[in-house]
């Protein structure tokens, strides 16, 4: 369980998170939605400790994690933009991460699943965006952790890989893992998410089940419901 309490984050004069209060339930898939710049990535990066918030606290399993580092062994993270050192080969990168963070279990299976074998000896700079994203997924999912954070994991993936990813997420959920995911693909949210957080202007605008948002806005499909939320506030 992750508990976020009145989290504030400013980048210079820009206030991105204005007191976010939220609890992510254990064993559930929570989708974080919101327009660009609403603070989705900042919220995730705060949980990971990549971003240092000005005030507020974050608890993972009742432990305050701000300023800590060892709790990250409980988290697998797929960053939004897969940037890797370009002069390394794929296999070298995977081995390097394994060396730095012992305990990888599933890399062989994942390389198999995403058909990355032919790319293992290629330099990361030479890979296409989609292939790089697959490497990104391998790096995160090869660890067995109770918490998985995915920031736009679908970016650049082809339909086949997308299905593989969905299966992968479903498999992890079946193991009882807590999963946070941001995405702009609404159909995917409807398909896999248990709960939905809607961030708007740095605050939690809505938190609940997918159906609740539909009821709240009086729309039958989620896409329209979200559009209704955005219109209501943009005008």
């Amino acid at each position: 369980m992750i508990k976020v309490k009145t989290l504030h984050k400013k980048y210079g004069p820009v206030e991105v998170l204005k007191g976010v209060d939220i609890t992510f339930k254990k064993g559930k898939i929570t989708a974080i939605l919101g327009p660009n710049g609403s603070g989705k990535t900042t919220l995730m990066k705060s949980i990971l400790g990549l971003v240092v918030p000005q005030s507020g606290s974050i608890f993972i399993e009742e432990k305050n994690i701000l300023g800590q580092w060892d709790y990250r062994s409980q988290i697998s993270y797929v960053p939004q933009i897969a940037n890797f050192p370009g002069n390394l080969k794929v296999i070298e990168l995977i081995q390097m991460i394994q060396d730095i963070r012992p305990g990888a279990l599933h890399h062989k299976r994942l390389i198999e699943t995403f058909k990355l074998k032919p790319f293992l000896d290629k330099k990361l700079a030479a890979l296409s965006g989609g292939t790089r994203q697959k490497v990104n997924l391998v790096l995160a999912f090869m660890f067995e952790t109770p918490l998985i954070i995915l920031d736009e994991p679908m970016a650049g993936l082809d339909p086949v890989a997308l299905i593989l990813l969905k299966d992968l997420i479903a498999g992890e959920k079946a193991k009882g893992k807590t999963i946070l995911i941001t995405t702009h693909i609404i159909t995917l949210v409807e398909e896999i998410a248990d709960k939905l957080v809607f961030l708007l202007d740095g605050t939690v605008y809505f938190y609940g089940r997918v159906n609740e948002l539909k009821e709240k806005t009086g729309q039958i499909n989620l896409e329209k419901a979200i559009a209704a939320v955005l219109k209501g506030t943009y005008v």
């Binding site: 980048y11 990066k45 990971l48 400790g49 990549l50 971003v51 240092v52 580092w69 060892d70 709790y71 990250r72 062994s73 988290i75 993270y77 960053p79 940037n83 890797f84 050192p85 370009g86 002069n87 390097m96 991460i97 060396d99 730095i100 963070r101 790096l139």
Partner: protein, 260 residues
């Protein structure tokens, strides 16, 4: 930390620039001996090169490495590692690989031309030591600047300015102040001003080691009196160490508050 150090080190060892740097010193060393085979003279010429070049290369490499390894850093930050471990590892990786290029690049020609049997062996070792010190100092300073600015161009600009200031402008200001306050006793001021610039400090240290301080005139005598003693030597090496430790501590402190 050693794993990060290892990977940063290997990453730099793969890069072409480490070899260029190494080859430059190698060629320089051989050319110096080709022109005259006197090791003491070669040490003096080398000093002039090392004292300006190691800070410059340390600064540029430090900034370049920091910005170009940003992706790698972000990847590491999401792993269960302490921030200080990551940055200390990277810092040591860069500093060690540059120092290696220096030591091997210059060491090989000197060894081939018989430095071990020459009387200049200690001067030569001091020179290498100081070159390594300057590398560690300026890589730390450049890491600090790179942490301060997210913009690459700004980071580069400021670190080059820093080098320019410490290597050139500082001396100019120093000389100017000597001219203006000509009527006052300036030996203490001169001594103090030297201690606050790692490049000047290194230069004086080597000059005194080489026993050519007579060239420095009256101030040289004051310096000889201070630096020539074992205490002076210890103080100046301690100060060089402070020049390494202080920027590193500030750097580690900066990383704690930085957003990625």
């Amino acid at each position: 930390m050693f794993k990060i150090l290892k990977y940063s080190f290997m990453d730099l060892m793969r890069s072409r620039w480490s070899y260029v740097y190494f080859l430059f010193y190698l060629v320089l060393g051989f050319v110096l001996f080709f022109l005259n085979s006197n090791t003491t003279k070669a040490v003096i010429t080398l000093m002039n090169v090392i004292i300006l070049l190691t800070p410059l290369i340390g600064t540029i490499f430090g900034v370049m490495y920091f910005y170009s390894s940003r992706e790698f850093t972000e990847l590491l930050l999401a792993q269960p590692l302490k921030r200080s471990t990551i940055f200390a590892g990277q810092y040591l990786g860069v500093s060690f690989s540059l120092s290696m290029s220096l030591v091997f690049g210059i060491g090989i020609p000197f060894v081939l031309y018989g430095i071990f049997t020459s009387s200049a062996i200690w001067d030569f070792t001091t020179l290498l030591f100081i070159g390594a010190f300057l590398t560690f100092i300026f890589v730390a300073l450049s890491f600090n600047i790179a942490l301060l600015f997210n913009d690459k161009i700004k980071g580069f600009g400021f670190s080059i300015l820093l080098w320019l200031f410490l290597a050139v402008v500082y001396d100019g200001l120093f000389l100017l102040s000597l001219l203006i306050f000509d009527d006052y006793p300036l030996d203490k001021l001169a001594l103090g001003a030297t201690l606050f610039n790692p490049i000047d400090l290194s230069r004086i240290l080597i000059l005194l080691k080489l026993d050519i301080s007579a060239l420095l005139g009256y101030t040289g005598a004051v310096f000889q009196k201070f630096f020539g003693t074992p205490l002076g030597m210890m103080v100046s090496f301690a100060l060089l160490s402070v020049w390494v430790i202080l920027p590193v501590v500030i750097m580690l402190f900066q990383t704690r508050k930085k957003d990625f």
